[in-house]
């Protein structure tokens, strides 16, 4: 667990001066950020801008998880990595890049795949999950486990058939679309971590890059009969996400407080 800072150093005050001015953040918000740990699951098109802006803003600890290595075909959207990082573990490359931007952030690279075994060690149960995805010219974002809103399983009690799941290697993606969605994730994480609160709980935000149009829709609340978060949960350990939904967990980029 992270030790809470009692006050900001002179260097902190200088570095964060432009955001300390904001009444929505202020010194207390900045101190809240410094005692928050965030796990970024996937250091790809979403995880790169997410980690970049969380690190820049002064999140206390950043876990960076990815099992993959950097390839040339990643660089059109995975902007924390560079040409020289090809074949390097993405988790390590991302950690080094965040360190160059803000050496006061504790970065912990995890070069592994999230599974039901290690998830229990890494993820504290019931913490908010800021989940986003991007494909082709579209993006989606939802905050799960937040203020009476649904968990992932409430919304999707049955996993989609695996043949219906398209990922970026099949469907393609314009790199800046995960860029926008990853920044959006960072915004909601920062609002939650600083104490301001997210406005995306129990909402699905959809982005259409072709029309440059955002739209929010209201989701169902937490379901009493949910197998994970309901009144009589039948799933009391973390299910293997990959087995559950049939897509590679690392295609997703998500945030969880440790």
């Amino acid at each position: 667990p992270l030790k809470a800072k009692a006050s900001l150093s002179n260097e902190d005050i200088m570095r964060y001066s432009r955001q300390l001015l904001l009444p929505e953040l202020g010194v207390q918000g900045q101190l809240n950020l410094s005692k928050t740990s965030v796990l970024v699951v996937g250091c790809g098109g979403l995880g790169c801008p997410l980690a970049q802006y969380l690190g820049a803003a002064g999140i206390g600890r950043l876990g960076l998880l990815d099992y993959d290595e950097v390839e040339l075909s990643n660089l059109h959207r995975q902007v924390l990595h560079g040409e020289e990082n090809q074949d390097q573990a993405k988790a390590l490359s991302a950690a080094n890049a965040v360190k160059r931007l803000n050496s006061t952030v504790e970065c912990i690279p995890y070069h592994l795949q999230l599974s039901s075994e290690n998830a229990l060690q890494l993820i504290q149960h019931g913490k908010p999950l800021v989940s986003a995805s991007a494909l082709r010219m579209e993006g989606q974002l939802t905050v799960y486990n937040y203020r009476g809103g649904p968990c992932y399983r409430c919304l999707y009690p049955v996993p989609p058939p695996s043949e219906t799941v398209t990922n970026c290697s099949d469907g393609g993606v314009l790199g800046v679309v995960p860029g926008i969605m990853g920044c959006f994730q960072a915004l909601e994480v920062l609002k939650i971590a600083s104490g301001q609160g997210s406005s995306c709980g129990q909402q699905l935000v959809m982005f259409d890059a072709q029309d440059a149009r955002f739209r929010s829709i209201k989701l169902r609340p937490k379901q009493a009969g949910c197998a994970v978060c309901g009144e009589n949960p039948s799933v009391t350990r973390l299910v293997d996400y990959e087995a559950f939904c049939g897509s590679a967990a690392t295609d997703k980029c998500r945030k969880l407080n440790l």
Binding site: Q140, P157, P160, V173, K218, R220
Partner: protein, 101 residues
């Protein structure tokens, strides 16, 4: 007899690819003895709009897992799901959950 119902259908998140890539459809459901509900709408869509691979859109008499249905910008779970009775000028969205980044 219930009067014809004019509704706006939208497909997104890739679900539009099953409908020739067309995202917006303004359709009129014909007059029938009982009011139109969403369950009947799904059958009508399959018979009148769906161009290919119905298994990617329906499963049994509902939509396949991984497609969210929104009625007038709210999760259909809040509206009665298959039993919801369609009103003239309703907006129904079928959005496929994206997996990627």
């Amino acid at each position: 007899m219930a009067a014809p119902v004019a509704i706006h259908l939208e497909f997104g998140g890739g679900a539009e690819l099953l409908f020739n890539g067309v995202k917006d459809h303004h359709v009129t459901l014909p007059s029938q003895p009982d009011p139109w509900d969403v369950k009947q709408l799904l059958v009508w869509i399959q018979q009148n709009l769906l161009k290919e691979r119905p298994e990617l859109f329906v499963q049994g008499d509902s939509v396949r897992p991984g497609i969210l249905v929104l009625i007038n910008d709210a999760d259909w779970e809040l509206m009665g799901e298959l039993e919801y009775q369609l009103q003239d000028q309703d907006n129904v969205v079928f959005i496929s959950t994206l997996h990627g980044g």
